[in-house]
């Protein structure tokens, strides 16, 4: 599973139609240790820029990360 550092993040309150039942939720762009960046969701505790995160699962192609 991937790990990396939070490059930026936001908590979404006003969600698109398909995600309204999940709001509020946090998304982030992660700078991966293996190089490059990926957009993913954050599970559990909220994260901030420069926090370390690790991928815990993937749902329909979307990586979900958690504070490491």
């Amino acid at each position: 599973m991937k790990s990396g550092t939070v490059y930026t993040e936001t908590v979404i309150y006003s969600a698109p139609e398909a995600f309204t039942s999940e709001a509020p939720y946090q998304v982030a762009i992660i700078s991966l240790d293996s190089g490059g960046r990926v957009t993913g969701r954050i599970l559990g505790e909220r994260v901030a820029i420069d926090d370390r995160v690790a991928e815990v699962e993937e749902r329909q192609g979307v990586p979900f990360f958690q504070k490491a």
Partner: protein, 386 residues
């Protein structure tokens, strides 16, 4: 390449118009524009329509001839241009190129979007298709959340604050309140903006542009023929379009928009002017942070200084270089496909000295910056008195 002038401009009011459909809005703007340029529809040799998502918003495709024929413009090329929120800026660039190249003499460029017949959640979903739907958008992003992440990083790297963002909203609402065609004519305070309903941290409702219906149109002609049509031609001094990655996570640095920088540099070079000479501008404030970054990428201020610049009032109606005297996307409204041409109409109004209560004192050289998506398309146009 021939010098090109805007010989006519017209637009609808922007707002939520339950009784209006897409075509009637585009036709109103087009007819006002024909009247302003004192030409009949038979004189138009080519027609461009900027529109982002008519098929999704109102279920109609093949929009360019759908609109042009309703205007009485028949037989000529009618072309729709889609480039997200820069759709009609890009249409303007292509119409300009056609006249500059000598292919046609009289070209109409219009832009239209009819958005308010959908719920906000559905509008968010349709707008999201301007992002990368195989990655960032699948994670549940909206355009507000993409710009929220841009704002977060800009705050982290440069110390930009919530007050800086709010200052942009307050300024643009103040100008919009003086614009009879604006969607929202409401003066707001910094405190109100800071306490707005959260949309995507750190952005509140007041950091976001409006979901609007509206249309705008201009007519272009070679400068040498412009006075056949109007006593007040406005010259297109410089114009450029540039592109970049669609997905935010592909960009090396999300606190700057390379497409804005590239289009700006090319447009300045073509116009033979520098950033410091630009007297006023219409910048793409889809979110408050976008205006702050645009002032930096266009060279009005150094990187990281866009926030303090707005807070100090430098870009207010009475500032040294007024920005968004129309109210911007924030208060005037943002019918996505109409925005690029509407910005051109607003420059024309100021340059001609017809901006009414919001008329500024120095108004002979203006710049419009129209941004698509989270920076994948940008069109910069520099207009001046002919």
């Amino acid at each position: 390449m021939r010098p090109v002038a805007v010989i006519g401009a017209g637009k609808t009011a922007f707002g939520a118009f339950a009784d209006r459909d897409l075509r009637s809005l585009a036709v109103e703007a087009g007819e006002k524009c024909l009247h302003n340029a004192r030409v009949g529809p038979a004189r138009i040799e080519s027609f461009y329509l900027g529109n982002f998502a008519g098929p999704s918003f109102v279920g109609q495709n093949h929009l360019a001839p759908y609109v042009s024929t309703a205007l009485g413009i028949t037989g000529v090329p009618a072309t729709r241009v889609e480039a997200a929120c820069a759709s009609s800026g890009s249409a303007f660039f292509h119409g300009w190129a056609e006249v500059a190249a000598g292919i046609y003499d009289v070209v109409m460029v219009a832009g239209v979007e009819k958005m308010t017949s959908q719920t906000t959640a559905r509008v968010s979903e349709i707008l999201a298709t301007a992002g990368d739907c195989s990655g960032e958008m699948r994670a549940g992003n909206t355009f507000a959340s993409l710009f929220a992440m841009i704002a977060r990083r800009h705050m982290h790297d440069f110390g930009t604050t919530r007050e800086h963002l709010a200052a942009v909203a307050v300024k643009n609402h103040a100008a919009g309140a003086l614009n009879p065609d604006a969607h929202m004519r409401k003066v707001i305070t910094i405190e109100q903006a800071l306490k707005g309903k959260p949309i995507a941290d750190p952005l509140t409702l007041y950091d976001c542009s409006l979901i609007s219906d509206g249309a705008a149109a201009v007519i272009l002609a070679p400068l040498e023929r412009a006075r056949e049509f109007t006593d007040q031609p406005v010259r297109v001094l410089g114009i450029a379009q540039a592109s970049d990655y669609v997905a935010l996570d592909q960009k090396a640095d999300i606190t700057t928009f390379p497409a804005v920088r590239m289009a700006g540099e090319k447009a300045y070079r073509m116009a033979g002017v520098t950033a410091s000479e630009i007297e006023f501008a219409e910048l793409h404030d889809c979110f408050t942070i976008a205006e702050i970054i645009a002032t930096e990428d266009l060279g009005f201020v150094a990187r990281g200084e866009g926030g303090p610049y707005a807070l100090a009032g430098c870009s207010g109606l009475k500032g040294a270089r007024p920005i968004n005297t129309s109210g911007g996307l924030k208060a005037k409204g943002h019918p996505v496909g109409a925005t690029g041409v509407a910005q051109i109409c607003d420059l024309v109004l100021q340059i001609r000295g017809q901006a009414g209560e919001r008329q500024i004192a120095r108004h002979s050289l203006g710049l419009a910056e129209n941004l698509g998506g989270s920076g994948a398309t940008c069109v910069v146009s520099i207009l001046g008195a002919a």
